[in-house]
């Protein structure tokens, strides 16, 4: 840090220029949201297609976990919450080691609903450049 005496009040004094850069970054990120949701869906479907493959499920879980944090940090908590519910579902799947195929079958409709809602939100934020 260049200034060790910097107080919390100092760092909270965000100037308009920084705020404008942040808003632009948020808009840029919003435009990539539909593609990111599609990519997540591919990863989850891949894990679903190979229920015995732990590695594919782990990959899907890591991607979902990462996306949840990033989408929320860019100011899209609604999508982050949906992705969090997906993560919870996948964690349950990982725990249900003896009945994986059945679990996927039962979770299928829930997963589809989560992705449908996430896609809807992502399209909205993308079209409205971050939700206005």
């Amino acid at each position: 840090m260049t200034d060790e005496k910097k107080s919390e009040a100092d760092v909270l004094a965000i100037d308009a220029e920084v705020e404008a850069v942040y808003q632009q970054m948020k808009r840029d990120y919003a435009s990539t949201l539909p593609g990111k949701i599609d990519e997540l869906e591919r990863k989850v479907m891949d894990a679903q297609s190979y229920p015995a493959d732990e590695k594919r499920l782990q990959t899907a879980l890591e991607e979902v976990h990462r996306a949840k944090g990033t989408m929320g940090s860019y100011g899209f908590p609604e999508i982050a919450e949906l992705i969090h519910s997906l993560e919870t579902l996948l964690q349950k799947e990982r725990a249900a080691s003896s009945m994986k195929a059945n679990f996927w079958k039962e979770a299928d409709q829930q997963i589809k609903r989560i992705f449908a809602r996430a896609k809807e939100k992502a399209a909205y934020f993308s079209d409205t450049a971050g939700g206005g």
């Binding site: 760092v11 944090g69 940090s73």
Partner: protein, 125 residues
Amino acid sequence: MADDDADIRKICHLSLSAVGKWQVFMAANGTDAIEKAREEVPDVILLDVMMPGTDGVTAYHRMKEIPALANVPVIMITAKVQQDELDKYTSLGVAGVIMKPFDPMRLPAEVLRILSGRFQTIEAE
């Protein structure tokens, strides 16, 4: 600051440099973070927990073995996790844990808050 997610690096760089007005070095993985930290010996290190290859926890342990970095405070960053996992990170001896999602405009203040608590703890000992 180390995170394998380019979007997080981008927003953290804006936050820590433009809002915090700090000199920031970015790394995309744990190995890169160790090398950059060894070269620059920063005042504080922010490490994402989940990174491919050398993850945040491994990088933390390796940094603590480097004499120049042994006393540099490390803050772990992780997406929202269960309390037991959170306890696991804090028990490592890290200065603090910041959960994603975070407000980028408040991230520097959160770093200062954690460091302030750490320094108070040291003074009290």
